[in-house]
Symmetry: C2
Subunit: 276 residues, 2 copies
């Protein structure tokens, strides 16, 4: 089969109307699924987050059964891949007012599994700080919406392929997450992760990590973190739906020489939880 | 001719690649021109703002001569209309890292002139407050980029057609602008407009208004404004490239019974400046 395969509103296509509000305004949501053995992982959790986003944006969503059928069609026979689902508010005229009625556009696209070195998951990754801040907006925080210029500009700050991720702060200097991942910090036996009430994306894998941590008996808390507190941590981890949980090995000069035992146990529990 | 006419990379088209980063991430910029007698107004000022945005986003822009030729092609014979120009970072793979090399996509589309009542310009408009705040990000502030979910959600807060615009605050409660316009406030003989260093779009017409105000001998200043200060103003105005300068007649119960003489003079000077 040819990758990536794309379905727009259920039909094979590689183009979308210029008047679609996804292009005009970033007026939509997306989800990124790891695909394994023909099946998108954590389907229910991703669809639940999409539903929460749809509610916050008053964006009517396609029928979940339809999405499942189209996802199955695209993923059939795919041993490993990545499925991206975009839902936009559909075609509208010029002007910000949402079209009424609104006919959302759905785009499913299949992509190759990224060729991350296996050492990333076992030995950890090199990470840097990004200067570009995340936009602060309590009403948009947590959502996986299509306004992703912050991530684009932060990710453009480096092209050293040995650096796997960049950490981003909000405009007040609190560390929030990576450009494509959520952040976890081990400190004094507790697993801390930044609150996402002002900026950031509430990752599906973040929930899996937090749930797995509780299952391991770790004390879990949300905590505002300054860069110095991340650097002072006993261990640092990054999560997303494709990578699972990566330990951080190096952060601009600060080195964690061995992967913390709790991070190792946590990564193993996450692997089990995602059904891999 | 059929409206809207659309050119994608110079060719008539109404679709764009699904993999375009304009759709995937809102990774691009746009400009909205008033078209009169076959000509987009304030072309040089719009292109200068586009260039500033391209620099801030490290987004290579199409040749200005090419854009001018395509705009002329679309606008030929159009007595009144609206031209929208979008430039995106073009097609890329999955992931935030910008494609290298990057081949930007340009989309020019022609739209009907909006049917605003003529009284809006002369007698003023009814305006409301929006609850949805503008995202705060000093690195993106001022740019007319494609991440416009804030404006979409604010504009969705009302559908009363007698309300022409909604005013938006930043998350700290400072008034910044309208969903589609910049804001001006007359107070004690001075013309004040909010600074755009944290949020908002630096409108081309905003510059025209400020320049015209200086030409009329008005004292002009940027000033952080709370909602109460807008309500207490001697006069309030709204500007964008299509509407020019509208006085505000009513803001949720507060009424300005006559258009302030300075606003009237200013609107007349703006009309002259835009060559109408």
């Amino acid at each position: 089969m040819s990758m990536p395969g794309v379905l727009v509103d259920g039909r094979p296509a590689d183009a979308l109307a210029v008047a679609d509000r996804g292009l005009q305004y970033g007026d939509g949501l997306f989800e990124t699924f790891a695909v394994r053995d023909g099946r998108p992982e954590l389907w229910t959790a991703h669809l639940a987050r999409l539903a929460r986003g749809g509610e916050r944006l008053s964006l009517p969503l396609p029928d979940p059964g339809l999405l499942a059928a189209e996802a199955e069609q695209l993923c059939r026979g795919v041993a490993r891949g990545v499925l991206k689902l975009i839902v936009t508010r559909g075609v509208g005229g010029r002007g910000y007012a949402p079209p009424r009625p609104c006919r959302p556009t759905r785009v499913l696209s299949l992509h190759p599994w990224p060729a991350h070195p296996p050492g990333h998951a076992t030995g950890g990754v090199r990470v840097r700080w990004c200067a570009h801040p995340l936009s602060l907006n309590p009403r948009l925080a947590g959502l996986k919406h299509l306004n992703r210029l912050d991530q684009v500009l932060a990710r453009a700050e480096w092209d050293d392929p040995t650096i796997a991720e960049g950490l981003m702060c909000d405009p007040h200097g609190h560390v929030v997450e990576g450009t494509m991942s959520n952040l976890f910090v081990l400190r004094d036996g507790r697993l801390l992760t930044p609150p996402l009430d002002g900026a950031g994306i509430a990752g599906v894998m973040r929930e899996v990590v937090l749930e797995a941590a509780r299952g391991l008996g770790l004390v879990v808390a949300q905590a505002a973190l300054r860069p110095a507190e991340v650097l002072a941590a006993d261990g640092v981890g990054l999560s997303n739906s494709v990578i699972g949980l990566w330990p951080v090995r190096e952060l601009e000069g600060r080195t964690w020489h061995a992967v913390h035992a709790d991070l190792r146990r946590l990564a193993a529990a996450v692997t089990v939880a995602r059904g891999a």
